[in-house]
């Protein structure tokens, strides 16, 4: 089962920042990490990851840099910035509060289905 596209889009920022908060990595690895950590739930068109990454870079929440890898190839990796760390903390708190209240409302409803 995978998450609805709109839900992934809406939370892409917090998901990417969470992954990058652990360590710097390139786009392909970010996609793999998201896929593995959520056991496939947050699967998204991998190409659509890049508009999110570029927007975050433009907003100064992450920082991109080119590095050489084996085989003479270059690849662009990203690291979270201080601004990004603050933004992540803010969004985490926001999401936890939201989750808590959703659970509170859901708990009063009888189990459907």
């Amino acid at each position: 089962m995978s998450a609805p596209t709109e839900l992934v889009k809406g939370n892409a920022v917090v998901l990417i920042l969470s992954v990058l908060a652990r360590e710097a990595m390139h786009g392909y690895r970010i996609a793999r990490e998201l896929d593995q950590l959520s056991e496939g739930y947050f699967a998204m068109g991998e190409g659509t990851l890049y508009p999110h990454l570029h927007q975050l870079e433009k907003d100064g929440l992450i920082e991109g840099y080119w590095e050489n890898v084996s085989g003479g190839r270059d690849r662009k990796s990203y690291r979270i910035t201080e601004k990004g760390t603050h933004e992540l903390a803010r969004r985490q708190a926001e999401l936890r509060e939201f989750q808590k209240n959703v659970n509170r409302v859901l708990s009063v409803a009888p189990e459907a289905g």
């Binding site: 786009g27 392909y28 068109g45 991998e46 190409g47 890049y50 570029h54 270059d74």
Partner: protein, 380 residues
Amino acid sequence: MDFLSEVEKKLDLPPGEKAQVIRELKSHYEELKGELVASGMDADLAARETSRRLGDPADVAFRLQAIHCRATWKTALLAAFPFVTGILATLLHIPVARALPASPAFLSAVHSYLAHLLILSVLFAAILLTGSIRELMRNRRPVWLATWLVVGINELIATVYLLEQLIRKQLPANQENIVPSLIFILVFGIAAMATFRRSTKWFLILGGWTILAEAMYVMHPALVHTGWFYPLLLLVPAPLVMALALRVFARHPYGNTAQASLFLFAFYVGLRSHPVVPGRWIVTLALDLLPALVIIVTALAYARSITWHRKLVVLFSGIVAVSLAGEATVISLIPQTWLHHVASYMTRATIQMLFMLFWVILVPLLFERRWSDRRPEFVR
């Protein structure tokens, strides 16, 4: 057509920026395809699966383009902000500029006007240059950087000009003192030569031009009061301004040619619209406010354009508008000698338009092509 070719075809970004985006996607594409092949999948099948997983190329290209090209309204307004304040400054001084030139009140009005403008210019230049330098130090190239940097530099030039005017007014009457102007030309000449110190040819051309400009001014100081001398004088800082535009924007990995063109457009139009000449309020309205309005609209439209080519079309339209509308307004102000002025001003407008098109759009494009093989690997 595979995913990468399709994205490349649909992505309308400046070449350097586009190459970086494609290179990043290519790295992802190859890594994913390599992993699928390593897991035992046939190469053709792996290529198709990779394209499928990367998603709809048109959607990816459109979203990337929107992020790279289109600024938010907030950023767009920030880019236009310095010119809006320029208009406000002009409007505030119109009552002063309306004083009768023959009256004794006029001289004191001019002094007050220049002193106020001097303080405003210094403050404004400080704010705009501080903001621009901060972005430059952080290696960022937001769209407003070009206009802020240009207005900061123009204010600095205006400050030097106003200082020269104030010094002149302290000198005895009828004494033509050319020293401040000579220093003005020399400073720009040396700065331009220092910028092109690695090219012997350009170093000598600029040195020669600076000496020629100085010699012309020493021999015929009255030349500076003729209309055609000013464009020639502008040729002294022109290479310096071009070098700045290319190095800060066109050649920078996070900048691009269109930003360099915006910088050059704002520089030349901004120089025209600076309210440095009091006593001509109606001409100030026609010649100074109109270009300022055009540049505000151009900056907003440029920032909000979604493709690189549209940005260049916006600048092209801005150049045509500022050249034709400015001169047309002057014609409408002088109805008595209408026919004579139509020919004269239209010729000036056309020359100005051609010069700006060449200098603002074509030169950065030519440099972009020439430099493409000297770029770092990842932006080729």
